[in-house]
Assembly symmetry: C2
Homo-oligomer: 246 residues x 2
DNA sequence: AGAGACTATGGCACTCAGTACCCTCTGTAA
DNA sequence: TTACAGAGGGTACTGAGTGCCATAGTCTCT
């Protein structure tokens, strides 16, 4: 039902534009009652971003189980969760990007979504840096940097029409942030040991999902572990990462 | 007229809350027609932030005339323009802050305002760093950092109820950003010479306003130069800075 | 089977923000 | 005087979002 509504809405937004599509139009095409629309989407804008709520929950879960020793790496990896959601549906993401750029109301709505990601990241960093001293300040500035870097790489890919792999641009952008903020973690109380550069492009996040290739030979085995309720796009994306051309 | 409407609106928002105040209530208290409200404020939310439009214009003007050699310092100083707008009316700013925290619609609106500041700063940095290479990326990340740092200091002051001087917290926050991003400007093509730490707390911005104490003795002379149309709060703020207890 | 409860959906009426269109009033120039 | 422009006001409309209630399907307990 939610899916039906979201698709009907998105089709109409592409055909007539966002503002010249009424909720009545949407429910007419979806063949449901008007009241039902607002049961699934608190506002018309929400129908354009039907997956962010779930992605946010996933990010929260990921951070809760993240490695303690490298908070900046953890939030960078958390940001990549969002990237993969976009990358899982290139044509949809690109169309939505174009739509969002043209409709002020959608731009504003997207800002509020991004803000929630940013606050989630900042909350995690704060809990690691400590509230006292510059902990909260560093947390917020680093979270903002990570989000800005992520969005820069993501936009680059979206503007290119969804060609190629967005991860490379985002990895590069996040590396720049890490270079600026990752090192002087020594300014915190517990001088963390030098963090390995490893977290650059982790194919296998800790939770809630894992795919691993079981060998380097030809007939390799792929073991897949997914929680119930894991969003389908993540499943697909991860399988592609493990099985795909690489 | 604009002023009358803004005041009536703000009073009502404090009395009854934002959402339980209708535009009809506002125009009734202001004693004007409903249609006139929307002539001065494109939306109900705009009445809560009546001065940002002007402040944004001022920031743009400031950056256009800013020193070429130190773009990060320039955007930091530009951010301080916003801070001073808040600091010029402590009790209004604090009340508005509390209101904004409680009303989701206002939070979202504020995000869009902040975003415009951020884009203005990023645009300036981009024009200095160059679009090619990592210029745009660095511009956006640094702008986001500056905005986050500014907002952190500003919020600290707002949460304290508007006591004391917000500049110290913001100066400290911006110094942290500068430490992270200001130095490795050498990674750009033109390795800029080490920038003096001077821009930490410039009392006298280049434009559109200047106040200078004429000596260190007792009977010192204050020379004030202001353009026509300079907002009154800036005049007051700058005079205070020059004449005040210091 | 049947009563009761719970959930999903639809329908209706209402509030209110925002807009389009047209009106009046006032001051100014010819 | 007429012509005109610009500020403000009034009216009616669209459309998002909400509250309330009715209906239908399902599950459970007896």
């Amino acid at each position: 039902m939610r899916e039906v509504l979201a698709q009907a809405a998105f089709q109409l937004f592409l055909e007539r534009g966002f503002e010249r599509t009424t909720v009545d139009d949407i429910v007419a095409r979806a063949g449901v009652g008007r009241r039902s629309f607002f049961r699934y989407f608190p506002s018309k804008e929400d129908a354009v971003f039907p997956d962010h709520e779930r992605c946010l929950a996933e990010m929260t879960e990921f951070l809760a189980a993240a490695d303690e020793s490298d908070p900046v790496g953890a939030v960078s990896d958390a940001a990549r969760i969002v990237l993969r959601m976009y990358a899982a549906n290139p044509e949809f993401s690109v169309q939505r990007y174009r739509l969002t750029r043209e409709v002020p109301g959608l731009r504003t709505y997207e800002l509020s979504v991004v803000r929630r990601y940013e606050q989630t990241l900042a909350g995690h960093l704060r809990s690691r840096f400590g509230e006292g001293g510059d902990g909260a300040l560093r947390a917020e500035v680093i979270a903002a940097s990570v989000v800005a870097a992520h969005n820069n790489g993501l936009r680059l890919w979206l503007r290119s029409g969804g060609e190629g792999d967005p991860e490379v641009a985002v990895d590069h952008a996040l590396a720049l942030v890490r270079e600026a903020w990752g090192r002087p973690a020594a300014s915190t109380a517990s001088a963390a040991p030098a963090v390995p550069e490893a977290s650059a492009a982790p194919v296998v996040p800790a939770v809630p999902f894992a795919v691993s290739g079981g060998g380097d030979g030809d007939g390799e085995v792929v073991v897949m572990v997914a929680r119930k309720g894991t969003p389908m796009w993540r499943v697909v994306q991860q399988i592609e990462a493990a099985v795909g051309e690489n």
